[in-house]
């Protein structure tokens, strides 16, 4: 009787947890279906190439123009700029924490860096708008501080904890025996770090960087507040930009449901989703390949 009962409860748990595990799949599927079904109808108003390569975004003019190239370039430039800031700072702090910092320093620094991740993005946006943008404008005598550079700077700082803590984890996963073996054959600390530890942690570090990129591409509130919001292809790093996320956030509330504008915003969401999807696949492939090379693979 008790054996039977435990068998039943085992089954209940098994299927219960299976249901939870597959529910994410269901949500993902639902989101993809909605993105496609609400995004595709825009292509009755504009061709796919016209949508992606068009340089004019005037969704409410008569006739409307739905060219999102300025929005795509806005997103990509902000991402590139943010990466230039968060990769050196993120990797540098991960290396310092792992290699140099003592136990006590590490106990203080690591939680502090992670605290940076817990600040809500709207607070970053507010800080950028009220403090950083006016400061940059005065310092560099710009026409406006709300621009690509400011957005990249703030997003770069926001992505530091993601890159730093994932990269540090990756460094920690390198087996101790690697280091010991390197020292044993006479390598010094620098040689060990650059030729043994870093390559061994390479997959994890690449994953950290790519996930940082995903974070930057998907960030909405901050760019809405500090990027300036002009739908133009930037010619300088001090030009204002309008990334894809902030376009959706700013316009979705005022686009009539079912209009071409509404479908265009969903289509932007779809393209954004495809971009981050590709990033995640690349991260997966990179981490697998390195794992196999090191003989750590499953």
């Amino acid at each position: 009787m008790t054996a039977m009962r435990s068998k039943i409860s085992e089954k209940v748990f098994k299927y219960g947890f299976m249901g939870m595990a597959f529910s994410s799949l269901l949500f993902l599927l639902g989101i993809i279906i909605i993105l496609f079904s609400e995004g595709i109808p825009v292509f009755s108003a504009v061709s796919l190439t016209g949508f992606i390569s068009g340089t004019s975004w005037y969704p409410t003019s008569e006739p409307p123009e739905f060219g999102i190239l300025p929005l795509i370039t806005g997103t990509l430039w902000v991402m590139l700029g943010a990466m230039l800031i968060c990769i050196p700072i993120g990797l540098g702090s991960a290396l310092y924490l792992h290699e140099i910092a003592g136990r006590r320093q590490k106990a203080i620094l690591k939680p502090l860096i992670e605290l940076l991740a817990s600040i809500p993005s709207i607070v970053y946006g507010f800080f950028g708008m009220i403090v950083v943008a006016p400061y940059l404008q005065r310092t560099f005598d710009l026409s406006t501080g709300l621009c690509l550079f400011t957005a990249s700077l703030i997003l770069g700082i926001m992505a530091v904890p993601t890159v730093s803590s994932l990269a540090e984890d990756a460094l920690n996963y390198v087996p101790k025996s690697f280091r010991e073996a390197a020292y044993a054959v006479g390598a010094n600390r620098w040689q060990t770090l650059t030729q043994i530890i870093l390559p061994a942690a390479g997959s994890g570090i690449s994953t950290a960087i790519i996930l940082g990129m995903s974070r930057v591409v998907g960030e909405t509130m901050t760019v809405l507040m500090v990027a300036g919001g002009a739908a133009m292809i930037p010619k300088s790093i001090f030009d204002p930009v309008r990334p894809m996320t902030s376009t959706i956030a700013a316009e979705m509330g005022e686009a009539a449901i079912g209009s071409a504008h509404y479908h265009a915003l969903f289509a932007i969401g779809l393209i954004l989703f495809l971009i981050t999807f590709v990033f995640n696949i690349i991260a997966e492939i990179v981490s697998r390949r390195y794992r196999l090379k090191l003989g750590l693979g499953r």
Binding site: W57, S61, G229, G253
Partner: protein
Amino acid sequence: MKKILSITLLVLTVALAGFAGEKIRLSGSTTVLPIAQLTAEEFMNFNPDVTLSVQGGGSGVGIASLNDGACDIANASRSMKDSEIKNAVSRGIHPTAHVIAMDGIAIVVHPSNPIQNLTKDQIRKIYTGKITNWKQIGGADKKIVVLSRDTASGTYEAFAKLALNDEKVRKDALLNASNKAIETAVETTPGAIGYIGFGYITKRVKLITVDGITCSKVTILSKVYPYSRPLFMYTNGKPKGWVKKYIDFVLSKEGQELVETAGYVGLK
């Protein structure tokens, strides 16, 4: 038995009275929102039987939900487009416009800017990108930073119609989500020019005259100020019942005082 019956009846009446409270749904323009909120609160104070729920979303959203039957009153900072009227009629909705207040779109610049007046033509050329430096119109040698509302906002559409003859705003204009955001940006950017609703003019930005006319209550109401516009509430057909009472309240002396409290220009 009689006692039970009477108690049941009592409970039923109380329950029904609870349900009887009618609900009016308002939705639409963020420009009209402060007026709708103030008047709705006051109206409910006097009429506890009725509940008004007020939502923003923008003029386009309000009109679309009136057409869908999802709201009773659509607030709009622009008149309905032909396409929206056609859509309404095809769904058996007969939108009726009520002008409830006037608003002026004020042109503002940074306080340090020596410019006092701009012509309509100059403003159009600045916003469409034909004039790019303040020195071209007698100011300092400084790049003009053009600030505009998001192209989906009703204020943008009204401005495009009144000031730009429906030409497009230059691509490098900085787009902001609200009147307040424009005011803040103009205040902190020496080369900036922006447009904001009459109620959002502050001492921290410099108000520019247009064709020599100051944006003020008198010039807006008489429509002498070129960028003055009516604000609307749309109902389906002639308003009836509580909807009529509410619209009448907004148009009453008291309602119009609240319009002024909200920062707009009353009709009387």
